[in-house]
């Protein structure tokens, strides 16, 4: 039986529903359920204590696994895989243990926007088969990194 994982905001900025993300893959929930944050600051923090399940070579997305096994994907920006790492600096490696609040990635919002990409960041649960229950603690509006975003449970 999986426990409850508290997911804290990995970014400071504005929370928006996934449906408002300008990418049908995320907006349609195909990748998983969650919310998106339009960051006001270029720092991605760990949303809980866990392990880096995947750090994309380009540094634009990170997957974290919580102690309970919930897997969260944080994908900085839309189509930013095409930037090939430009504007992103990853501070962690795959398999690394992290604590809530650790800075996972530094990114440069002006660089990304100047290249023509949006920085809106989906924060989604990628193993919904094991963690089908997602309870949002904020649906829209301003949020500070570290504040409660949602909980997931099995």
């Amino acid at each position: 039986m999986a426990g409850v994982t508290q997911v804290r905001a990995p970014l400071s900025g504005q929370v928006i529903p996934l449906t408002e993300v300008p990418d049908p893959v995320f907006a349609g929930g195909m990748m998983g359920d969650g919310v998106a944050i339009i960051p006001s600051q270029g720092k991605l923090f760990a949303p809980f204590d866990g392990e880096v399940a995947a750090i994309f070579p380009t540094g634009h997305a990170v997957g974290l696994r919580s102690a309970d096994g919930a897997e969260i994907l944080m994908h900085i920006g839309i189509d930013t895989v095409a930037l090939n790492g430009k504007g992103f600096k990853a501070n962690v490696v795959q398999g690394q243990k992290v604590r809530a609040g650790d800075v996972l990635v530094d990114f440069d919002i002006p660089t990304i926007e100047a290249a023509g990409y949006k920085v809106v960041t989906p924060v989604i649960v990628t193993n919904p088969d094991e963690f089908p229950n997602l309870a949002r603690q904020i649906a829209t509006g301003p949020i500070t990194a570290g504040n409660n975003l949602y909980t997931v449970s099995g």
């Binding site: 893959v25 990748m31 995947a54 750090i55 997957g63 696994r65 994907l73 994908h75 895989v81 193993n127």
Partner: protein, 85 residues
């Protein structure tokens, strides 16, 4: 047994193509691993693991499973440009 395939999706097994691929693996019920030739194998049903490998379009991958039919259909999927669908 194993099969190799060349990724046809331009941006690689990322986001949507990765999602399509891992869903197909999960739906098959077979245990399948994915890796670069000579590299570490990862669970092919895990979206995070597959996306985290950063596999690019045109790259060759190795799929391993006991189920030959599943492997054949996955090779076909990988060799389809999933971004164009």
């Amino acid at each position: 047994m194993e099969r190799t395939a060349v990724i046809a999706s331009k941006l690689g097994l990322h986001a949507r193509p990765a999602q399509t691929f891992t869903k197909a693996v999960a739906a098959s019920g077979a245990k399948v691993t994915i890796g670069r030739p000579g590299g570490k194998a990862a669970n092919a049903a895990s979206l995070l693991s597959v996306m985290g490998m950063g596999l690019k379009g045109g790259e060759e991958i190795v799929l391993v499973s006991d189920d030959a039919d599943v492997l054949d259909s996955l090779v076909k999927l990988v060799e389809t440009d999933l971004d164009a669908e």
